[in-house]
């Protein structure tokens, strides 16, 4: 049995039945990482010794007939923007090269409380800014389905670690599509929860009104298991919502009979790769076959979403990244004559090109004389984009759409053309602007055997509905059994 290929659900069962031990499971995953990370570049650091110690503790509890927590013995990896006390947190940047987290993020605490074993920290685009994981200061993260292609970003490492069985599951963050896009490119399940569903405390911020932490998993059930573990109110995050958080697996197999699925017509226009269009259309027919009612809906402000996103996200980023000044932590430029030069050189040397571009654009749209025309305007358009969803949800329970217009592109193909890179996010950014939950589920392969993702978009705090739809679709196909040719 190849233990590294187990899902959370399978591992939970086998551990409790005594079929496998936690040490065996963790060893299998560590071995897999050693074998594949050199060419995939998904892990930035691993927690080898501690992970095995924790696994031995779990096995002791099992031997003594003690109680296990939900995620006891399950190896989980975290994107390197999520703090794990005592481990590095680089955010994929040189400016945090030697930074060691002094505390756990809330999601880390909750995973630990659930018994999960933190196996390592994952590569990502620098400060979560990117759609391909080519913007990391620590090297490209490659797609396991074709290592000449991008993993997607910014949570490339999170998606790859799961797709390549280098972890049972991982956590990523999604600001404009950064969980859903790499999940689609790598053929795994990725969830962006409703804004405010999961605490952002201890998560390195990119855009505070858009960021959300979410699970990357091999199956929809695993996604529900992980969300259950990490979701819920946190007094340390004033944007986290005080709303009860259920067991998301409870109604997952209820099916879609009677549910109304909205299909936004603006999402099916030019630029959508043929294979992708065919796979999505096939999914629509399947869901119809399972009893869902297909509803044609319109989202008239779709074409403004990316522009709106890039004004708001960069503005918020310019503010959030102002703290990287070399004073209290991280890289500090040496041999500087005064404090002003210290700031300028620390940031010039520490930040990569894409980060600098976004800080510049963000600073510009907030600056005197331009604030009204750009930032304020974008905030108003954001209200219109959310309005589209509110209107559409009057006639449907959830929506179905592609995740990306194309499958994974080649490394280097778009890096010199930022705008083309940004357009990969055309189907994902509106969801962040509106704060909605969305799930990416594998729905097929293109002619080059590259995965295609199906996006299910839910109403606020209705993750259960998109889990139901995703689970129904997943179990009636066998994409979840596919593994990349490693």
């Amino acid at each position: 049995m190849s233990l590294h290929t187990l899902t959370i659900n399978e591992a939970q069962t086998k551990l409790r039945l005594g079929e496998i031990s936690a040490v065996e499971l963790v060893n299998a995953v560590l071995t897999r990482i050693d074998a594949t990370n050199p060419y995939l570049g998904s892990y930035l650091s691993t927690n080898h010794d501690q992970a095995l110690d924790q696994a031995m503790e779990v096995d002791k509890v099992i031997r003594e007939g003690g109680d296990l927590e939900a995620l006891s013995g399950i190896p989980v990896a975290l994107k390197d923007v999520i703090l794990v006390e005592g481990m590095q947190a680089t955010a994929g940047s040189k400016i945090l090269q030697e930074f060691i987290a002094p505390y756990d993020a809330t999601v880390t605490e909750r995973l630990k409380r659930s018994g999960a074993i933190i196996i390592g920290k994952l590569n990502c685009d620098e400060f979560a800014m990117g759609s391909s994981n080519e913007n990391s200061a620590y090297g490209v993260c490659r797609n396991p389905w074709d290592t000449e292609r991008v993993a997607g970003g910014s949570s490339g490492g999170s998606a790859v670690s799961v797709a390549a069985d280098q972890a049972c599951a991982s956590l990523g963050t999604d600001t404009g599509g950064s969980i859903r896009l790499p999940a689609a490119f790598c053929g795994i399940v990725g969830l962006k929860p409703t804004y405010g569903r999961v605490s952002r405390f201890g998560v390195i911020a990119y855009a505070s009104s858009l960021d959300q932490v979410g699970p990357c998993t091999k199956t929809v059930r695993d996604s529900a298991i992980l969300l259950t573990a990490i979701a819920g109110h946190d007094t340390r995050d004033s944007t986290s919502v005080n709303r009860p958080s259920p067991d998301y697996t409870q109604f997952i197999d209820r099916g879609v009979d009677g549910l109304r699925v909205g299909v936004p017509r603006e999402y099916f226009v030019d630029g959508l790769q043929e294979d992708v269009k065919r796979a999505i259309n096939r999914a629509i027919l399947q869901l119809k076959g399972f009893g869902a009612e297909i509803v044609d809906i319109s989202m008239p402000h779709t074409e403004y979403a990316i522009a709106t996103y890039y004004v708001i996200a960069t503005a918020e980023a310019s503010s959030n990244l102002a703290r990287y000044d070399g004073v209290r932590y991280g890289y500090r430029a040496k041999d500087v004559k005064d404090i002003a030069t210290m700031y300028l050189e620390t940031r010039a040397n520490g930040f990569g090109d894409e980060v600098k571009r976004r800080i510049m654009l963000g600073t510009f749209v907030l600056s005197a004389g331009y604030y009204d025309a750009y930032y304020l305007k974008a905030q108003k358009v954001r209200a219109l984009v959310r309005g589209d969803f509110e209107e559409a949800f009057k006639t449907c329970d959830f929506m179905l759409a592609p995740v990306s217009p194309t499958t994974a592109f080649r490394i280097g193909e778009r890096i010199d053309d930022p705008l083309t890179m940004y357009l990969s996010d055309v189907y994902t950014t509106a969801v962040n602007l509106a704060g909605l939950p969305a799930l990416s589920v594998p729905c097929g392969f293109d002619q080059q055997n590259l995965p295609i993702g199906l996006q299910l978009i839910g109403q606020p705090f209705q993750e259960e509905t998109i889990f139901r739809a995703g689970y129904t679709f997943e179990r009636n196909n066998d994409y979840y059994e596919s593994r990349p040719p490693l």
Binding site: G196, Y310, V381
Partner: protein, 98 residues
Amino acid sequence: MRITSDEILHVAALARLSLSDEEVTDVSKHFETMLKYVDKLNGLDTEGVDAMSHPIDLPTALREDEVTTSRSESHIRKIMDNAPNTRQDFFRVPKIVE
């Protein structure tokens, strides 16, 4: 819209970024492309639309103004260990005031 070199340097100063000549050119091109793209927002009528700063309508989370125990010595050590230059529990930087 054309952004001049001077405006770019002004924005860079605001952002505490020093840019090389090449970077100024790169940013200038990037601004041109992005602002042209973003300018399509100006075609939209947003009369009477309230600016949306947040996806959820939450009241500001307040707490009681009470003194709690500060962090432990070991926690302070972890924070100071990340600092590039310190003296006791202060962060040292180049002189600010002449």
